[in-house]
Symmetry: C2
Subunit: 299 residues, 2 copies
């Protein structure tokens, strides 16, 4: 297939590497020529073109840019791409993106996709051919995409051996705020604490163990990707920040008042939630189709 | 050497496995007979005894119990162990423990030790012979220990190939509150959020990616170990919780007011702190002796 990847950073370049392996021809477009050059070097694209050129004769356009750029590019790309082409995005938010697409006459040629894959590093040099292998991928508002568009996208996701979950865009943004955007937000807050720069804590780098490394790892993530996610999913994220701070306040009170029984209770809930997540990691891999859109699609 | 390990959970059993490999004879004591049986099965102890029996003819006693139990056991063990024996602990707090030891006539036979090693799992079945290999280990208030006691303990730490850092107990507790106890506290708070049990979030387990896994991993840690640490280092931890919540508030305000420039600034500090920590992980391994006690000891 003739595929155009717009945005050749970590996600775009990794995707290109995996799809080239499947025999597809990849054209890359990027407003950052440095990214494009590195993606060519990494083998993530077969050729580099200006966006307008890259849209000619393409069969599938994949937006691998930050979610603010996804919103800006959907309309011009749907306007310009060939009649039989399909557009998909790879953004971490879905409600605002689907709203923009929904206002376009070619909405049915668009498929809203969110791969649950990524690392704290960014850019084409951090790309990996197996970044998406066996990872989960969410397809949103699938009933608003045409069957042939959905078939094209699901075929690609199957080639990548990803596990597809169908979900509506609103539910996606609400749930992702809890499982992804909140953890990222609080990791930034921890990592940004001025105390790490305090000379009286000069030994912190030597003293930090695996716990700090786990907690601070997300602090490395790219601001250019995350600030637009925070903005687009602001209301949901703010709600969970409040609930998280409430839980911190509660725990702080239990510590101050030496209420060890209630603290034990609270920690046992933590342990249980960890077990649930851990149970999943050990489960055999399955496709999880679970809502109306899926039933429609598979019927 | 004849070594007695008191507490044969993750830490005690792992230590026993490593020291047996070095040819030492390990006697285990544990108020929990189930732990002791599993430690025998794992090869973490050569024989199991009642504590009083286990102290006879021993040359080194290692306390591998939660820090509240360390505080309770120091005095009876210093009272009962042979005249030439040495006592060390492996607790994650040091100020209260050193204060208890400091009030005993045999203070010089005690060495306060904190290995920066551990995993989120607990118990002898999670033990690993290489748990301590190349890990950092902090020795506190070394100038209050006798030279022969310090020699015995540093010999053992060298056999384990650990990297020794000297520090005073007060400084230890203050710095560890930031790099270890705060990250643990906030991971418990995140993992304990009721939203993970909310039926409208039933998909969270499927949706959680690597970010959530990093953040929630510490939520698995054992309450029996951590509640006493929180209590013994309460003042320092409360101070850092306040500062962390202040940073969360600041970030929340930047999100609410769409102040993307300030948000970028904040995230860049996160990125920088991550880089410092990451830089350390890539450094060649070195022993880091850095204070008065070290100079005394090495002179």
């Amino acid at each position: 297939m003739q595929i155009t990847i717009v945005g050749t950073g970590l996600i775009g370049c990794s995707l290109g590497m995996a799809l080239k392996k499947q025999g597809h021809h990849i054209t890359g477009a990027d407003s950052n020529p440095d990214n494009l050059e590195k993606a060519l070097f990494r083998g993530g694209v077969d050729e580099a073109k200006e966006l307008t050129e890259a849209l000619k004769d393409t069969q599938l356009v994949v937006l691998c840019v930050p979610v603010n750029a996804v919103k800006e590019l959907i309309v011009p790309i749907l306007d310009a791409m060939p009649d039989n082409a399909v557009l998909m995005d790879m953004g971490s938010t879905k409600e605002e993106i689907c709203a923009v697409a929904g206002a376009h006459p070619r909405r049915a040629d668009f498929v809203a996709v969110h791969p649950m894959a990524g690392v704290e590093h960014s850019g084409p040099l951090a790309a990996h051919v197996d970044l998406f292998l066996h990872a989960r991928v969410i397809v949103c508002d699938a009933q608003k995409s045409a069957t042939n568009a959905l078939n094209t996208v699901l075929g690609i996701l199957q080639e990548l051996k990803m596990k597809v979950i169908f979900m509506d865009a609103r539910q996606h943004d609400r749930q992702l705020a809890l499982v992804s955007h909140l953890p990222q937000f609080i990791a930034y807050a921890l990592s940004a604490m001025e105390d790490f720069g305090d000379p009286s804590n000069k030994d912190w780098v030597e003293l930090g163990g695996g716990g700090l490394q786990s907690s601070i790892r997300l602090g490395k993530s790219d601001a250019g990707m995350w600030i637009p996610i925070f903005q687009q999913n602001k209301e949901n994220i703010l709600k969970y920040i409040d609930r998280y701070m409430h839980k911190l306040q509660e725990m702080k009170y239990l510590l101050e008042t030496r209420d060890e029984l209630q603290m034990l209770e609270l920690i046992r809930s933590s342990n249980k939630n960890y077990e649930k997540l851990n149970y999943r990691s050990n489960k055999p891999e399955t496709v999880v189709p679970d809502n109306e859109a899926t039933k429609l699609f598979y019927s």
